[in-house]
């Protein structure tokens, strides 16, 4: 496994509206296998700790943790689309809804929950490719508005198809339980497993050729054709993958909430999703997790404060953006840089010397 280097905060301002700082992390030469092993160890320990959560945490904290993981997975898909392929597709909340509803409805028909997860993923992935088709002709804010329109139409359909979805009134979700474990812990374990697999696979493909190609499409646009890359094909793949992941997260969300209704999936979800992507750090690897944790903690922390909660949410969001326009991951990068400052300095002087020589 090769290692990401420092996230270089680029401040270049281009016409690309998603071109924000922090970009993706520059991948340095994959020499440090030892570092890789340490990181692997950290990941395993973190997973074990997370695995122990249901035995340690009370039900409220478990719910919060579970919700964070669900949002993190959803944001992982959103980040793939917005941060990596550079397309502002705003149907993500609706695709998330497809996952929640699709899973619940399939379970009513007797399909086991674990089977519904890939099923809704495939369905929403295909739908997302269709939603992405405007990308043939549109980019930037125009694509944003077009996909927003399609997303809202989906939620509208959920309201309208009363016979299947229960309409605006909502739908009960049958809760899946693992043998011998209660419902909320079961949901948590499934969520944890799905999140771990999703983060592992997405990260793995993004640090390699696939991630490079997506970024070439984002930064070169149509000119990526000269690299033998069909920009349209990769734009649609990004839509499809993000839709797949959104619906997988949605199916877990349904399990967590045990009741779904259309109003859950409107702007009130889409805006926090955008916040999670950008506050976490668009185009990064761990930004979705950090962004989701940020949003959930913020909401839960200021709960029951009514209007004050929304004010606090807005103000903290503004402060976070003002202080760290590259997202919270750039904070970690800064920290890492300062810790390695000695080694970096040595490397930099060497490179400067060579520049003088050149």
């Amino acid at each position: 496994m090769s290692e990401p280097g420092r996230a270089t905060a680029t401040t270049t301002h281009t016409e690309d509206p998603t071109m924000v700082t922090a970009g993706a992390e520059a991948v340095t030469e994959p020499s440090a296998h030892a570092v890789g092993r340490t990181k692997g160890l950290v990941a395993v320990v973190a997973l074990l700790l997370l695995f122990a959560a249901p035995f340690v945490l009370n039900s409220y904290l478990l719910f919060v943790l579970n919700l964070t993981l669900v949002y993190a997975v959803a944001t992982l898909g959103f980040n793939l689309l917005v941060g990596w392929s550079g397309q502002i597709g705003l149907a993500h909340a609706a695709l998330f809804a497809i996952g929640a509803y699709g899973s619940a409805i399939a379970m009513e028909q007797g399909v086991p929950f674990l089977v519904t997860i890939p099923l809704v993923g495939l369905a929403a992935g295909g739908l997302a490719v269709l939603i992405g088709f405007p990308a043939i002709r549109l980019t930037g804010f125009f694509l944003a508005i077009a996909t927003l329109a399609l997303g809202m139409a989906i939620v509208e359909l959920l309201k309208g198809a009363r016979a299947v979805t229960g309409g605006g009134g909502g739908l009960n979700v049958e809760v899946f339980t693992l043998p011998g474990i209660n419902g909320s812990a079961s949901t948590y374990f499934v969520t944890l497993a799905v999140a771990a697999v999703a983060f592992f696979l997405v990260r793995r493909s993004l640090i390699g050729r696939f991630g490079r190609t997506l970024q070439a499409v984002r930064h070169l646009g149509q000119l990526s054709g000269s690299l033998g890359v069909s920009a349209l094909r990769y734009r649609l793949i990004a839509f499809g993958l993000s839709g797949f992941i959104a619906a997988v997260a949605g199916s877990l969300y349904g399990q967590l909430q045990t009741f779904v209704f259309p109003a859950m999936f409107e702007m009130n979800l889409l805006v926090p999703m955008l916040v999670m992507v950008f506050v976490g750090g668009a185009g990064s690897h761990w930004g979705p997790l950090i962004g989701a944790a940020f949003a959930v903690v913020l909401i839960e922390l200021f709960q029951d404060l009514g209007d004050l909660q929304a004010i606090a949410y807005g103000v903290v969001l503004m402060v976070a953006i003002a202080v760290l326009p590259g997202g919270l991951v750039s904070l970690f990068a800064t920290f890492r840089d300062s810790r390695l400052v000695g080694r970096l300095l040595a490397r930099r002087t060497a490179s400067e010397r060579s520049e003088v020589r050149a």
Binding site: L138, E156, L274, Y313, M318
Partner: protein, 286 residues
């Protein structure tokens, strides 16, 4: 049907004006401003409070407009300037955070109940050949049209020309000595003025509340999109068309589908005219 079109022109005028406010700020300051409706709402709420406290209509209107203008300028100076070099998205998120905070602040101070801005002509109606026309509708449509003409005239003035220069090329504009900071403040002020006009027009005809701002801002953005974030005429016409579509759907199909259908109509326009509907096709990137 005519009745519906009339209502459509009325709400379309609000959308068009808000869209124009967004485009003005986008052109001169390059900020996609999601807080525009809330800026107008804060100003309008102050106006309604003054109005309710017995201050007569016209002074209340003036105070409303001044507050909307100043609030927007303060936001530009205090929050937006230093983020400018980071591109659109941090700016957009900043305005989203701002809209959440302002919205909640309004709720905290004045509550979430809908309010209206009572004008001297409120409740008066005209009968034009069997068509029931309220004075509020007349005022909205006339002020909307005058506002659009005024903004267009402004962009023909020397200062407007500077703004266009900035919009076309920030770097060159700086080189020829355009003070982008001052222009940005003026654009924000103008945007705040237009936005408070839009929300006030809405309030003198119907009710406004912390809940009405969200749909207003989206319609405003959609109108701006139809003008390609550049064309004033495209934005204005787009806003009016949006209002009519939305009212027709509300009357003949269902009010809950208004939003989605209006957006889908825009989607179709965008697919046929990718740069907004006043612009021709353009080859991207190359």
């Amino acid at each position: 049907m005519l009745q519906t079109v009339l209502s459509g022109l009325e709400s379309g005028s609000w959308f068009a004006l808000l869209g124009l406010a967004i485009v003005v700020v986008m052109k001169a300051a390059d900020v996609p401003n999601f807080a525009m409706a809330e800026i107008g709402l804060v100003a309008t709420y102050v106006g309604t409070v003054l109005n309710a406290a017995g201050i007569s209509f016209w002074p209340a209107v003036v105070v409303t407009l001044v507050i909307g203008t100043l609030l927007a300028i303060v936001i530009d100076l205090a929050l937006m300037r230093k983020l400018a070099k980071h591109g659109h998205f941090p700016l957009l998120l900043m305005t989203i955070g701002l809209s959440l905070a302002l919205n909640a602040l309004i709720g905290l101070i004045w509550g979430h109940e809908p309010r209206s801005f009572t004008a001297p002509w409120s409740g008066n109606h005209l009968d034009v050949g069997g068509l029931d026309v309220s004075w509020a509708q007349v005022v909205t449509i006339v002020v909307g049209a005058l506002g659009a003409i005024g903004i267009t005239a402004f962009f023909r003035s020397p200062m407007g020309a500077q703004m266009r220069a900035v919009a076309e090329n920030r770097e060159t504009a700086r080189l020829i000595g355009v003070n982008a900071g001052r222009l940005s403040a003026i654009a924000w002020g103008l945007g705040g003025l237009i936005a408070s006009t839009a929300v006030m027009l809405q309030a003198q005809s119907t009710l406004v509340s912390t809940h009405s701002a969200a749909s207003l801002i989206i319609y405003g953005f959609v109108a701006a999109t139809m003008g390609g974030f550049v064309s004033l005429f495209g934005t204005f016409a787009g806003g009016l068309a949006l209002g009519i579509i939305q009212q027709v759907v509300g009357t003949y199909i269902s009010t809950s589908a208004q939003f989605a259908v209006a957006l889908l109509a825009v989607f179709l326009v965008l697919m046929l005219r990718p740069g907004g509907f006043t612009k021709g096709m353009r080859l991207r990137d190359v």
